[in-house]
């Protein structure tokens, strides 16, 4: 047979070559698979991402706020059910990512944190089950959210309400906001909106404090036993600070007032006189203990851009900036969360609980909520004695001062309504609390941008505190 040797060689060559092809296939299917599948341009990743069944988001009363609706094409559409909670919940978009609570608990909602057995992974892959995330239960109360949203309708600003002693964030609102259900359609418009609707003002808004800093100032006076009931001349008069005219929260005749009364009406002249009599170190130390320089963070939520920056230069008190800063018109800024925490400390014997927003997690395979234990310690910012005296001063401001609008029948509310000046506009503040019996209480901070009406801020605060108190009472009744 003349060709046998050559055909045999061809056969061997054929077998070797097919073997090499099989090895190459094995390389891409097994050894090199992970690298190539992790590439950003792998469209399979995009499909898998779009098919993830994100967990639902519930409020503290188990009202469903956000859910995932499976679509015919295998993707999942997020549905936000409560407009009043939009700004607190943030957004999930397949195209634009996540924000707000959706970002804070993204890992849990996606199910990335769930440990799965090898057999479950195998079964899921075999049956092409999309990844399922856990439900989360947040501290928000939909009734409080709705009350806040209704009360602040048409305003620009922020409000945040904390439960004491737990530190639960009961309500949180930043305005203007956006409809996360329409995010993909409105994204371009939203990112160029001068109102910056994506900005979580309640957590990250760095506002001029103005007269709202009279609370730590009067605390400093109490600490050094300064009399607060002695009349002060021209206490109600406007005060000129570096070409800026500061006034009381409400228009008053030019009369003498005690420091207590001046606090009730948030009058700057009386506090300017107080500053003259206080040592710079005393004021600085009081502000330090009140944590004015530390921007607080709601656990999981995005921190303010410069809050944790290690290169940030600590604020320096000098004789030249002392007066302006102590009156809240210097470089020092505060966030609504920070002011709510100060109110929380005042109503909680001088200790502020660290805020949190997550109560429980429910894995996709379970019907039972697994509670999240909040083990973070409270932060002492003043003595219990000073805290009680500050409570009384704030109750006085609601009873007879600028914060009268916050008062609600049958509810023990204290608060401080004040003005701050920022550029050409004014800000209206309300910082207050409500006691609920025992150690239970509520603390709130409201800020309205471009507003000279602290009474409105107080009214919003009072409404929110009342709604939260009702909810708390209902919960107590239900649990009993």
């Amino acid at each position: 047979m003349p060709f046998e040797r050559e055909i045999n060689r061809l056969l061997i060559g054929l077998l070797i070559t097919f073997g090499v092809v099989a090895l190459a296939a094995a390389y891409w299917a097994v050894a090199g698979a992970d690298t190539i599948l992790q590439r950003d341009d792998n469209p399979r990743r995009v499909l898998a991402e779009a098919a993830i069944g994100r967990g639902g988001i519930y409020d503290r009363n188990e009202t469903l706020l956000v859910t995932s609706i499976p679509q015919q094409n295998g993707s999942v559409q997020r549905e936000y059910r409560v407009p009043a909670a939009y700004s607190a919940l943030g957004y999930y978009s397949f195209t634009y990512g996540v924000g707000g609570a959706e970002a804070a608990y993204n890992t849990i909602l996606r199910g990335d944190d769930l440990s799965t057995s090898l057999s479950e992974i195998f079964t899921d892959q075999l049956l092409h089950r999309p990844q399922q995330g856990s439900d989360v239960q947040l501290t928000f109360d939909v009734n409080v959210q709705t009350t806040l949203a209704d009360a602040m309708d048409g305003q620009r600003g922020a409000a945040i309400l904390l439960s004491i002693p737990s530190g639960d964030v009961i309500g949180m609102l930043s305005l203007p906001t956006f409809d996360p259900n329409q995010l993909d359609a409105t994204w371009e418009q939203l990112i160029t909106d001068p109102g910056n609707p994506f900005f979580a003002r309640a957590l990250q808004g760095r506002y001029q404090p103005g007269a709202v800093l009279q609370t730590p100032l009067i605390a400093a006076a109490l600490l050094v036993d300064q009399p607060i009931d002695d009349p002060l001349e021209n206490a109600a008069a406007a005060y000129l600070l570096n070409e800026l005219t500061l006034t009381c929260a409400v228009r008053l005749p030019d009369v003498s007032l005690t420091l207590r009364e001046a606090y009730s009406f948030a009058c700057p002249s009386a506090f300017a006189q107080l500053i003259e009599s206080l040592e710079i170190d005393v004021v600085q130390a009081t502000f330090d203990t009140f944590q004015i320089e530390n921007i607080p963070v709601l656990e999981g939520f995005v921190a303010p851009l410069d809050a944790a920056a290690p290169t940030a230069i600590p604020f320096q008190w000098t004789t030249t900036n002392f007066r302006a800063n102590a009156l809240g018109q210097g470089d020092q800024t505060v966030t609504p969360l920070m002011m709510a925490m100060i109110a929380a400390a005042i109503v909680n014997d001088g200790n502020t609980p660290q805020p949190h927003a997550l109560i429980g997690v429910r894995p996709p395979t379970s019907d039972v909520w697994q509670p999240i234990i909040n083990a973070r310690p409270t932060i002492p910012i003043t003595t219990s004695g000073t805290a009680r005296r500050l409570q009384d001063l704030m109750r006085g401001a609601v009873a007879n001062g600028a914060a009268q609008n916050a008062g609600r029948p049958n509810l023990d509310i204290g608060g401080h309504a004040a003005l701050a000046y920022s550029g050409d506009s004014t800000l209206a503040w309300f910082v207050g609390f409500a006691t609920l019996g025992g150690s239970d209480a509520l603390a709130i901070a409201v800020v309205l941008e471009d507003s000279d009406d602290p009474g409105l801020a107080a009214d919003i605060g009072g409404a929110a505190l009342e709604a939260a108190a009702h909810s708390a009472r209902d919960r107590t009744v239900r649990s009993n």
């Binding site: 054929l14 099989a22 296939a25 299917a29």
Partner: protein, 439 residues
Amino acid sequence: MSIDGLLRARGLNSEVSVVAVTERRLLVLGAAFLLVNTLSLTLVRSSPQDWLHFAAWLIYAFVGHVLLRLRLPTRDPILFPLAMTMTGWGVILISRLEPAFADRQVIWHLIAFIVMFAFAWTKTLLRLMRRYRYLLLVSGLSALALTILIGVNPSDLDGLYGAPALWIALGSFYVQPSEALKLILVVFLASYLAEQYPALRAEGLSNPRTRFSLSPRILGPILLMWGVSMVVLIWQRDLGTAILFFLVFLVLLYIASGYTPLLVFGALMIMVAGLLAYQLFDVVRLRIDIWLNPWLEADGRAYQVVQSLMAFAAGGVIGQGVGQGVPYFIPVAHSDFIFASLAEEWGLIGVISVIALQTIFAVRGLRIAMQQRGKPFQTLVAVGLCAILIFQTLLIMGGVLKLIPLTGVTLPFFSYGGSSLVVTFAITGILLRLSAGET
């Protein structure tokens, strides 16, 4: 008289029954595989068409088995079941990727089936091809030349994308002359070399004094084939067919002459042609560039290759399951890249199965070639036909796996394409006839 009675009368009883039983069992095995996959596909997306395709396959398999038993009782029992199983698998894949094309493929399967029997039934066709080899070659080359003038690409009828126009339109069907030319060339070369091989061997390719003085007897055909290949490449920009022609020719010449350095010489010629083509032709430059580094242009010119590799990775070992992967991200997944689509849904297990099926087919074909003792033409035809399938399979598998630059050829039996399927089944028919010793 029954078939068995007829065969008994011919005195072929025991061998015949072994062949028949083996072929029947393999066909049942193939049917079972296709049944399971059709069922799986139906569970994913209910489509009555898939069951019609399966029913057609059963009819083809049954009729084919009965006719082969009758006509070629001592045939190779493995080739027909292999061809049928691979084609059926291909139809399932095409149906899953481009449902509209699957019906056409089933019709093409019928035509291919008839052509296979035309070659298996009578020795006349192969004899006629041998006798009129020059006429056929000229006709084949003319048809090829015709595509240069009036050729179209079914996927790019308006010529918007500059895709190679390798087809001639016949109504709503498209015929690719280069596919038929493969067959014609093998018969032509086998016929030529069967006559020339004693002289080639005697003339002393193994003689130390003359082995490097390539005579016109050798050099002529080499240059002719190299020229034909280059014409195909230059005029049609059909890199795959050009390389395939040359490789098949090289193998046949090697088998005929027994002169091993020819393979080295041929490889050098391919490299020289490749370097020249790299400089001269954009299509070749593109293929080589994206072969060397597809990741730079993963979203651009190398998209197809990168998506192909991703399909292999996504398939892993056991695959995503039929109808459950996303191989439609690979452009032309149902044709040149059907191997990658298969990898995603059947995984490495499926890939190795396909490699094994193609290898077994080729090994059986070469075994048939070796059985043609004293019949050099038949031997060379069998080797040449096997070489077509082997190189076509290796070129496309190597291309989608980034082992070699991509060449646009179909995966035999699997890819969508009527001309390719008809020629593949014609090859099967010829091999079946040769295996039965009926020439």
